[in-house]
Structures are given as structure tokens and as C-alpha cells.
Symmetry: C2
Subunit: 406 residues, 2 copies
Amino acid sequence: MKRTSRDIRIANRFEVLRRIIGAPMVSRQQIASETGLSLATAANLIGELMELGLLVEVGFQDSGGGRPRGVVSVNPSGGVLVGVDVAETYVHVELFDAALGVLASVEEELHPRENRPEQVVAHIASGVQAAFEAAGVGPDRVLGAGVSVPGQVDREGGVSVYAPNWDWHDVPLRSLLAESLDLPLYLDNPLRACVVAELWFGAGRGRDDVVVVNLGTGVGAGLAFGGTLYRGATNSAGEWGHTTLVVDGRLCHCGSRGCVETYVGAPGIMQTLRDLAPNSPLLHPEDQTATIEALAHGVAAGDPVAAKVVTETARYLGVAVADLINLVNPEVIVLSSWVAARLGESLLAEVGAVVAQHALSRPLAATEITLCQIAGNPVSLGAATFALKRFLAGIGTPAGGLIRRV
Amino acid sequence: MKRTSRDIRIANRFEVLRRIIGAPMVSRQQIASETGLSLATAANLIGELMELGLLVEVGFQDSGGGRPRGVVSVNPSGGVLVGVDVAETYVHVELFDAALGVLASVEEELHPRENRPEQVVAHIASGVQAAFEAAGVGPDRVLGAGVSVPGQVDREGGVSVYAPNWDWHDVPLRSLLAESLDLPLYLDNPLRACVVAELWFGAGRGRDDVVVVNLGTGVGAGLAFGGTLYRGATNSAGEWGHTTLVVDGRLCHCGSRGCVETYVGAPGIMQTLRDLAPNSPLLHPEDQTATIEALAHGVAAGDPVAAKVVTETARYLGVAVADLINLVNPEVIVLSSWVAARLGESLLAEVGAVVAQHALSRPLAATEITLCQIAGNPVSLGAATFALKRFLAGIGTPAGGLIRRV
Ligand SMILES: [Zn+2]
Ligand SMILES: [Zn+2]
């Protein structure tokens, strides 16, 4: 609970930049009034960010009689950020400018079972290299690289503590990556990356209590309370995918039974399809991506099996989402990640009625359920945002930004 | 997210008093260093609380060479606080001094079906009156009264929005109570009262992320994140009792099926007993309290049916507690309320193994599961703490404390 004046300064620096990225052209007075900081503090922080080249003065604003006020904006060419989304089936790399605009985007497929740490690290390194070439920039302009990996992460130590779908335990990712990428690295997981992306750029903007439900191979719920990412005691909060939906239900990678993930994650949806129609041509036994794609096409084409799978999945998802509403009482629940991108519209059409049967009316009425609206990859965006935050925290320290950039 | 300087001053005032209540004799310097406030601000806030009669100077402390430092303490006779715990089966009233020490304690039983609002209000009023008489104080010395009622509460409007076990909807409790109690009233529910009691005086002290599992007639999980009570968007967070444990399971008051409450609340435990041994002499069909008491005695006496009921209940409770660990990743989970007071030891002995089967190892290792250790009634204590907090927030406003007490 106790924060030092240095912590507060870093938080304020970050908040000022976040506001300016959010509202492209603002005066120091507007920033002071939006953040509750004094004008002197806001001006001082803005000056610091201008010195770093992250902000520029872009003009003047009429102040209604007084002196015209200087208006500042993010300087997109103030630096480059790398955001990497490592999922079970792909590695997605995006390069961003300092305003978090996309400069380049590269995706490498991970084949089923291509999941040894050195294989994944090689894909990250080649993806980043390809993105540099596509954008025509070099590593010297990079302020930092954020890498999201599935499962539980020790972000301080840079270790993937546990990735259940790959059976990874204590993989020292930061040191493995350091051999091929000479960039300031920030490691976290997609739940947290998605929440930050939604808070900065998506449905979480201006909201306090936000849940981002990630539907991919793995499943989880990123949490933000009071407008801030919630990590829990060991950075493992949000493992909603491993809460029990069906007592004594389907066996899960994590060792438990009946976890939410075994019903609404991509392999769980495949299992539901297998249970309903074992010989369905929609089923690609070794390929989650292809199966989910086939289901999406099937629904669009009126295939009754595909519709049945969606209805069944929406029933499980609806109960588990209602649990989040009753326990967390959020303002918004965002459905994100690649399964939501493909099946989200169909699921959303049916999930509301199930949620309404299971959620209490007061919190239900306060919750919007929506699909992720962020263009591009929200996990890469969030990972890059983490890297920016880490860069800002390092300013003024010996190993930190100011010295690095001089 | 934006806090005014007045909000910050109220929060600091509260935090200073909380620290001094927690560590009875401290210097201004210690408070400044513990809270991160400047010495001038801490001294100023302490001066304000002394003027109100809530703190007194109690001596001097050696400062290792410099001038001796003044040591302050709470002044127990600075005022009286009322804390009322309204449950489905009783109304418990406690009077506290300004240090939150108990002055008097009164409990009135609520008979089954004695649950119309005017009946409950009459018990509250007579309980408060009896407590005043027992302590020999009058309402003129009361800084405020906190009243906890089960279910969902609109604390601003003073309305019990929804109490599922009584089928209360939008009962205007504050105005009903105002007719018989001329005290500044603060309304909330037991989940929130218990969390505040644990944060100030119990297992939550000095901890950031805390869950208080309330096991009574109703069931819920009070939440604190970052050392602060979490309310959610509509003050309804924590309705863990109405998250789904068994899809299509037992019918719940809330209209859903298979809610946690229908298995681990007192009526749910009775149902488990009925399912296992419909003619058991432990079962008092119209009396939850007597049945839970009988089960507790049965376990102590080695009754196999009672043991079976505990095992079955621990199995349900363990799965639902593991869900909290995986989703929330707290430092501590406290089992509280009257069912935990009676059956908690037996449940705790069996619940750990079930939790270990269902929780992920990283968050599991970080979570202590413990019984509420607060002497007396934690809900009354938390409700009185709310009343104190409201009193502190009112200082300096026209309707607020300073003027009231002059
Ligand atoms: Zn699992
Ligand atoms: Zn229910």
C-alpha cells in the first residue's frame, strides 16, 4: 500500500502520457484538470516527456481571453515499441510507433507440437527481425519489447512459470530470448496484456472495473479494478479458465476436472463438436485453428451441427460469464482473443439469455458484454504498452531510458 | 479514478486513525513514515483528530538524542459507535468505544418467518436500546450507527435492494429505521462489513488482497484489493454464493440453479443432511441454527452422519474456494460468520485437500486459508467501522461531525 514519491512520479508520468495518447491534442491545463495533478506538476512531467522526444508542441489553443495555451501531442517518431503475442498456435509480432500506431505486423504459425522453448524463441526472434525489415527500422530505435506468453509468468525473473497447454515449467524465457534479441524485454501473459490494451484503447477506457475474457486455446479473465490492472498476490489472478464449471467434468491439463477452459477453449469446443458429431467434416482432429474456422463458416452457412456447437458453447460460456458478473460486478466484460474473433458474434447472440438466467439483476444491469473492438492484435498492443510503461519507469535510473537514448 | 483534494484528505484522515487504532501508542514521526505522508501533514491530521477528542497525547518517546517525541493514542471515551449485524436468524447489536473496543453486546433471535421489514426494524431498535442501557450510555454520545443487512444494498439511498432469503425488494430501511433511531445511519451488507473488520483487526491487517468467505444462511465472498474494500460497479461485488457450482443443480432463491449457496449455506447443509439421512435426529426441519449446532455436536461426538455431512460440504466448499484462489489470487481467505464459527474447524480439516486438487499450484502456495479470529461479532465491528469512517468523512461539512459535536 505504501508508495514512495518515486513510485508516484512514475505513475503520474505514465498517466500523463496515457491521457495524451488517448486525446491527441491537449493543453497542459486540460491534462492537469483530467488527472487531478497541479498545473506545475503536469507541466513538469510534460516537459520531461518532451525532452525524451515522446511529446511535441503542436500548436496553440484559444483560452477565452487569456494567453493562448500550448497544445501537445505524442511524437510518433519518438521511438519504436515491439509487442509479441505468443499463443499456442501462432507467434504474432507487431511494431508500434510511440503513439502505439502499428508500423508492421508479422505472424508465424506454430505447428501443433512445435512447442519446445527453443522453437518458440526462434519464431519470436525471426518474427521480430521480419517486422524490423517490413517497417524499415532497426533495434537502435526500440524503447522496449513486450512479450506475452500463455500461462503463468514471473515477470520480474522473466520466467514462464507454467504453461499448461505446453507443459512448460520454469522456462527461463528472458535469458533464452536475450541470446537472439538485444532489446529491453518485458514478459507477461495475454490476460494482462489484453486488459491494458482495453484500458488504454478499447472498451475499458474511462471505466474502473473491467473484465477481459480471453477465448483462445487457453482461457482466462484479465481483471482491472479502479481503472488499474489487477495482478493478485503472485501475478496469477484471472485464471478463470481453471475455475470449475462442471464438478467431476472433463479432465483438464491443469490436473483438475470440469474447468471452464475444457468447455470454452478451442480444444474444449472441438470436444463438444466431437461429442455431438464425431464424424463431422467440420472436425480437423489435429488443427484447432482449422476447426474453429470451419465452425465459423458452418454457422454462417446454416450448418445445424455448427449451430448446435455454438449453442452448447454459449450455454457453458454464459454460466461462467454470469459467475464473473456476480462475483466481480464489473462495468464491462470484453470477449477477446482468436476464438472470440471468429465465433464471438455467434456466441454473443446466444450468451445473453444464458447470462440473464444466472446473474443477479442488479449487477447484470450494470454490465455491458461486448466483443473486443481493437483493430489489430490486442495482446501485441498490450505487450507493447507494458514495454512503454517499463521504459517510462526506467527514466532517470542508470540503466534507464534517458541515458540509453542519449 | 480522479480524486479531489478533499477525497484525499478524508482518506488520509481515515488512514491515520486506522494506524493509531492498530498500534496503540505511536509518534507523529512513526505515522508519517508508515503512511508515506509528510510529517507536517501527519501532524496536522493528528491535531484535527485530537480536537475532535478522538486522539489524546499519552506521553513521550525517546528519539535517540533529539527532543523527546510526543506519543498519541486513541481516546476510547471520544465517542460511541453502534454496529448492527442483521442476519436471517438473529439481530446482533454491539456498542463500541472510539477505539472499537466492545462496550455492550445484545443479541435478539429472529424466529423463522419473522422477516417483515417492520419486524426486523423493531428488533434493531430494541436491541440498540438494550445495548445503550447495558453500557449506561445515551444516543447523544454516538458518532454513528452502522447497520449490516443481508443481500444487496444501496448504501447511498439507505435501501435494501434485494435480500433473497427474505424476498425483500427495495425496502427503504433508512427511513424505516429513522422513525425509531435518531442516529447518523450507515447501511451496508455483511460481506463488506466483514472485509473491513478483517482489514482493520483480523487476518487482513497489512495485507493487500483479501477474501472473506461468509458462511451463514446466505453465502458470499467479501473482497479487498490493494488493502482496500472492493465494491464493484453497483456495490454488489462478492456474490460468490450465487456463482454456479453445479450446472442444473439445486434450485436457489435467486432463480438460478446450482449456486454455491445452495450447497454451503445453512439451508444447503441442511439439504445435504436431508439427502443423506432424512430421518436423522440431527435435523431440525424449521430451525437452521439448531441443525447446524446439532451437526457441530454430532461431529464432536463422532456421529457418522454428521461427519458425512461435513465431508460432503467440505467437498463443495473446497471446489468453490479453489475457484476464488484461481480467479482472485488472494493472500488470505478467511472463513467467517456463524456457520463457520460452529463448523469451521471441521470443515477446514477437510477442505484443504479438496482445494489442493482444484487450485493451481502457484496461487495455491500464496494463499492462507484461516478461520475468522476476531473476538466478538466481526459484522458488528465492521459496521461500526463504516460508521466511524462516515463520521470522519463528514468533519468540516455543515451536517458533519464537528458541528454535530459542538
Ligand atoms: Zn484446469
Ligand atoms: Zn443463487
